[in-house]
Symmetry: C2
Subunit: 474 residues, 2 copies
């Protein structure tokens, strides 16, 4: 039987087993696998062990593999498959996801405990799964695992060879995972990679992401006096590091939204006129994009479309700032130090190392005497532009269009998935980015959610994609 | 016997009993009476009860009195004394201190737990008492209580009538204490007030403070989106409140150190040439004032002396700032809000209400669309200039000079003690400000200390001042 003739019973099985799929996702969501905070290292290990046991139960040869940080999972559907398909052989996909999640603060803004998942009703009647990781990336990666489970359950095998690779440090820059890829590149050889960590165009329109912004993430600490001071004694005479920090960060942007760091826009190209024309047709309005989050005015470069501001233009955001007294009430302190976390989303043509250096030079040049700046580097990924003509992409696009009944959009994303560049560099693999997230999923925020429809039709989508890949020309 | 002939046995008694004085101070320092944090309300009550019991043991008619906030203590050495001395009667002083202390964060910078007092050696060999409140104001107020104890112990009475008034909300603006003064003004009537909450000129030179800066303390919260956002999805398109906050705060100062808020300097006068000439002679150098805290360059208005910057010029400090992710590692969040605490030290001629309004207008005028600012008011006190010629001041000055063997300096202070204006307004009392703090006491900071010499000679100083006041013309 061809894969396509077996597909319908697989889809039926997915529908029949969906309540159990949800139960399995909830078990994973209950594990507090916050990679950024060392206090949760044990939970990260527990999430890896839990997932590995589940994937092993599908007949995958599965290992939890140590790294210098949180462990990774390598699982092979066909332990004899040793990389790229030979002529006439089966396709071999490396599927990637991550079990680690973002921190949950500010905890007081969650309506429910973040690690006690529930299905509830969204304001507009959609059913949603609410928990930290519901979308990013536990819900998304489980769409693929559940699709494999249905294929195995109905047919006893998968239409193509699959290596599942799950990491635990995506949210903190994959620093230990990239060396792991390098050290295991023969074992991880495949025809191409598929990543489930992106979104749809809208709740009814599937999408494949073909470009991603890069990310440079810096932390800067400004230090002045050797201790905290009383502003009654020293106010007016002693340097205040919060004043220095706000002065420097406050000068990062021109009136028109452009970033003032010298050389920041070097190498950045305008979007080609034909693509820009297509984007204009998509008509991404502030009403659609900003109104749901309580805003109305695009905050980026004033001479750019909103869709350019969020996908094709480089940006700078201050993601965190802290200094001095931040408790209740007042304290007349001049603190000894103040710090901020600043990230830059990069586009094609920008080099992360140059951007980092330009930022550090910018800060250092503005430091008054008596102040020092200390920097730490949290992320360093270039932008990605994928090949729109790669063959697995066409098969995935067709399968998604069939499942959702609407033409699949090929879109740029403003986010960064640095692993895509790492797959190309270390394993030589191109990546197809398919995911079922929505803009209102609150990823990285309180009350993260995943539409129940995304989870259900996401599983069905992967079942179709596996079939389509089996029959696609390679 | 005259007070002066009784003085030597009293001073001898202070020396002999000093170890016990220290034990009693330590018992008070162990109580975590942090007024800013509601979690410590019970400790504030415990501190009031503890002090009241100790003062009652000296024969004072003592009450712990409720306020709308933390309680106050009223203790009278002569319960028949009903306010101002009649012709030929005894002088009557209202002594003021506060038992509440500042919060202790950042706790990790303390070398020892802040509420476990010890006597230890300072780097230069001075013996110091280390604890939160060691100086401000538990150590200082106990110098007066111990002086009263010695007088009572040796002579059975005090040279003048004394009402001791201790509050528990000085560090949070005395909002509930001022109404308490108004409601009890007949009971609190006296000839003048004395406050022990200020410093010496240097470790060997006593001082009386004759001017104080005022304080306006504002908190501002900038709100943008209705929830925290992921910078990969929204970066470039959505308003970032940390960016808005740093832009506004970063523009508060001109290159030359002047504050840019329109009208901020209205009414501010230059120091008279003769006073400025005296100040120049005091020769307060950056080496002396800034080097001990690791700095070297005066940070205020460039065309002013350092001593002007810290005492006679109005200032602005950002005392705290917080927004977004401040934990370990990185999080690509655009937060929904960011906030800062900003204080202004005011000088004679500035009106707190006008300064507050000018600041709020300044912030509001710089808000981009889509942002709101919320303000809260933590303090609102005008500057104080005392009468250099008031009679009790001359007696106190003489007594201090005798104890320390160096001429007492009459000096301006950069700090704010709003209660001084409240005493004048509600009770009609002038205040003499005598204290034994030093610039390196780390008040409001980790590792707060009080020199053992300040505590010991502070007690002796008050014993002398009480005697001098008994014999001074009124």
């Amino acid at each position: 039987m061809s894969s396509s003739s077996q597909l319908q019973p697989v889809l039926d099985r997915i529908d029949a087993d969906f309540d159990n799929s949800l139960t399995r996702l909830f078990a994973l969501l209950r594990i507090k696998s916050i990679s950024a905070d060392p206090a949760f290292a044990g939970d990260c290990k527990a999430a890896a062990d839990h997932l590995a046991k589940d994937i092993a139960s599908l007949g995958f040869a599965t290992d939890v593999r140590p790294t210098a940080g949180h462990p990774a999972i390598v699982a092979k559907s066909n332990s004899k498959a040793d990389g790229k398909a030979h002529d006439g052989g089966r396709s071999h996909v490396l599927f990637y996801g991550h079990y680690d999640v973002q921190p949950v603060d500010p905890l007081n803004l969650w309506h429910r405990p973040p690690f006690e998942p529930v299905v509830t009703d969204h304001a507009d009647g959609r059913k949603i799964i609410v928990a930290r990781g519901a979308e990013d990336d536990k819900g998304q990666l489980m769409t693929f695992v559940e699709a494999c489970r249905a294929w195995k359950s109905v047919t006893g095998s998968l239409p193509i060879d699959v290596t599942i690779l799950i990491e635990g440090e995506e949210e903190i820059g994959s620093k230990n995972f990239v060396p792991f890829l390098e050290a295991n590149k023969e074992e991880l050889a495949a025809d191409f990679a598929m990543v489930c960590d992106t979104g749809m165009w809208d709740p009814n329109t599937p999408a494949i992401t073909t470009s991603l912004r890069g990310l440079v993430y810096e932390e800067v600490k400004i230090k002045a006096a050797s201790r905290d001071l009383h502003s009654g004694v020293f106010g007016g005479g002693a340097r205040n590091p919060i004043r220095v920090l706000t002065y420097i960060l406050g000068s990062l942007f021109e009136e028109n939204g452009r970033i003032t760091i010298p050389g920041f826009y070097d190498g950045v190209k305008d979007v080609p006129p034909d693509i820009l024309a297509q984007w204009k047709k998509l008509n991404l309005t502030p009403e659609r994009f900003l109104q749901p989050i309580g805003l109305s005015i695009p905050a980026g470069e004033k001479d750019r479309l909103l869709i350019e501001q969020i996908t094709s233009r480089p940006t700078c955001d201050i993601n965190g700032i802290v200094g001095g007294y931040t408790g209740e009430g007042s304290k007349t302190v001049i603190p000894a130090e103040a710090s901020a976390k600043i990230s830059f989303r990069l586009v094609e043509g920008q080099q992360p190392d140059k951007i980092r250096k330009a930022f550090r030079d910018y800060v250092t040049a503005r430091l008054p005497g008596d102040c020092r700046a200390e920097f730490s580097d949290h992320s360093n990924a270039p932008a990605i532009a994928l090949d729109w003509n790669m063959k697995p992409l066409a098969a995935a696009k067709r399968a998604l269009t069939e499942e959702w009944g609407k033409e699949t959009v090929l879109m740029g994303s403003g986010a960064s998935i640095p692993i895509v560049a790492d797959f190309k560099r270390t394993l030589g693999l191109d990546t197809v980015l398919v995911g079922f997230g929505l803009e209102d999923d609150n990823i990285h925020s309180p009350n993260e959610k995943y539409d129940l429809k995304s989870f259900h039709k996401g599983i069905r989508s992967w079942a179709r994609i596996l079939a389509a890949l089996a029959e696609a020309p390679r």
